[in-house]
């Protein structure tokens, strides 16, 4: 009988029965896996995050991330005794791995140090083409309008029980940029990292649902039928490009310099984004760096980021009212950002001869290139000849810069 009791004690069954909230979290992990695998919602990130949630919530597995408190201390059982230690000052990386497990080691070494989000930005930069933006430079301004949701939700969240740092972290979901959201949250409110990362990536995955919804509520058929190519014929762009490659090489260098001077706190993100883009645009002489940044490093970083973010979603960290507030607030931030971009396009159309399809405003989000693809599909529904993809890519890529600048401002003033 003792043997049976020991075997029962060895399993997680008893703990699952004693605390059913673990089952809720495991079910959430299954749902996220389903969305990632079956529904193909950002599977490259959602699958590692979902599996991280599962790993963290198997009782006794010891793979959940233990969040440090405001003083940087963690409490854990060591040889049957509860120990409280400052994880930054008193513990080395091998000690963290030994005492708290491999997931905590990865989290504190790679995520908490702020290493992975800029690394992922480098990969994003290597996969980004600034060509469409350079060909339609004016449209880049709509990347600013679509940051409205960030600051609007900051105001609302600050009045709903979140302190300013938490409100800033929640609001940055409106930038529609996972690495930016994670980077900002790490700087402002690291205890909210799990739910914010989940909300940010979930809403990014739901871009094909959210953009059409906001567009339907705010745009008329006439506005959505504005044919950009016809507008180009009526009011042609006189800019001549004699050497696009040289332009694409100079652009990331100059933009990094400007942003570094104006918003130094955004340099970690913008600098790495532009570096990744530069090694892509230089061509053959840096093609090995480009291949590594866009494949090996990017994929490795994505795996560790996803697993560690998922592992922060433990029962204690996730099942509370604040998480519901984050999920609701994140949705509002996302929707308001799209609305902000659309409004800017409408205001522009009041004064300009050359009309802009409001879908270009809606894609001022950072979700590249999914937002542009969705906008293109919507435009084609109203006019089968109205291909707006290239125009949307301009505001879409500008949105990446805009959201990183907005993050830099939040970190600068609230961090």
């Amino acid at each position: 009988m003792d043997i049976l009791e020991n075997i029962y004690g060895m399993t997680a069954i008893g703990k699952l029965i004693a605390d059913p909230s673990y089952i809720v979290m495991i079910a959430l992990g299954f749902v996220l896996l389903y969305l990632g695998i079956k529904k193909q919602f950002e599977p490259l990130l959602l699958v590692p995050i979902a599996f991280g949630v599962l790993l963290a919530n198997f009782p006794g597995g010891g793979l959940g991330v233990i969040a440090a408190d405001g003083e940087g201390c963690v409490e854990y059982l060591k040889n049957g005794v509860m120990v409280r230690q400052n994880i930054y000052e008193d513990m080395t990386i091998p000690e963290i791995a030994h005492d708290l497990g491999i997931m905590n080691m990865l989290y504190y070494a790679l995520i908490k140090s702020g290493l992975l989000p800029p690394i992922i930005f480098m990969g994003v930069g290597a996969l980004t083409d600034f060509g469409p933006m350079l060909r339609n430079l004016k449209l880049a301004i709509f990347g600013a309008g679509a940051q409205f949701g960030i600051f609007a939700v900051l105001i609302v969240a600050s009045q709903c029980g979140f302190d300013m740092k938490e409100a800033g972290s929640l609001a940055i979901i409106g930038g529609a940029d996972g690495p930016t959201a994670i980077f900002t949250t790490l700087k402002l409110a690291p205890h909210m990292l799990g739910p914010i990362a989940i909300a940010a990536y979930s809403y990014m995955a739901l871009v094909p649902v959210i953009i059409p919804l906001v567009v339907k509520l705010t745009c008329s058929k006439e506005e959505l039928s504005i044919n950009m190519k016809e507008q180009d014929k009526l009011y042609p762009n006189k800019t001549e490009f004699k050497n696009m490659q040289a332009l694409k090489i100079l652009f990331p260098i100059v933009v990094t310099t400007i942003v570094a001077i104006i918003v130094p706190d955004a340099v970690s993100l913008i600098g790495m984004l532009m570096f990744g883009n530069l090694i892509k645009e230089i061509g053959n002489s840096t093609s090995r760096l480009f291949q590594t940044a866009s494949n090996g490093i990017m994929n490795t970083a994505t795996i560790f980021l996803g697993l560690c973010v998922g592992a922060t979603m433990t029962v204690d960290a996730f099942l509370n009212l604040k998480t519901i507030g984050i999920v609701a607030g994140g949705f509002c931030a996302f929707g308001l950002s799209i609305f902000g971009g659309i409004c800017l396009a409408k205001v522009y159309n009041l004064f300009a001869k050359k009309k802009i399809n409001p879908l270009i405003g809606a894609t001022g989000l950072s979700a590249v290139p999914m937002a542009s693809r969705v906008a293109n599909d919507i435009a084609l529904k109203y006019d089968p000849k109205n291909h707006v993809l290239n125009y949307c890519m301009s505001s879409n890529v500008a949105g990446v810069i805009g959201s990183a600048v907005a993050a830099g401002i939040l970190i600068s003033f609230l961090g």
């Binding site: 105001i155 401002i409 003033f413």
Partner: protein
């Protein structure tokens, strides 16, 4: 206290950004800065285009190297260039466009 002095004192101490007025102030600063940065990107981009057109005008033409004369006749040079670059990227430089036919 004028808005500039409020901004200066708030910037000096993040505690200044508390409550509704702090959030509104941060919104004003944030949206203004994002607009300014993107306007700078636009105008600096325009200056770069002028600079490149004037001082580095040679466009690197890869299409004629890979696409045949026949292909250029079949489609315009820009399209041939795009197709050649796409094939070059997809095949890691091993592929070569020999002809392009309009179907």
């Amino acid at each position: 206290m004028n808005s500039l002095s409020i901004l200066a004192s708030a910037a000096a101490n993040s505690e200044g950004f508390e409550g509704l007025s702090g959030a509104l102030l941060l919104m004003a600063i944030g949206m203004f800065t994002v607009f300014i940065v993107l306007l700078l990107v636009i105008y600096v981009g325009k200056c770069l285009i002028l600079f490149v057109n004037k001082f580095v005008p040679e466009e690197v033409k890869e299409a004629p190297k890979t696409a045949s004369f026949a292909s250029v006749q079949a489609v315009d040079a820009v399209t041939a260039d795009i197709i050649a670059k796409a094939v070059n990227t997809l095949t890691g430089g091993k592929g070569k466009v020999e002809s392009i036919k309009k179907i």
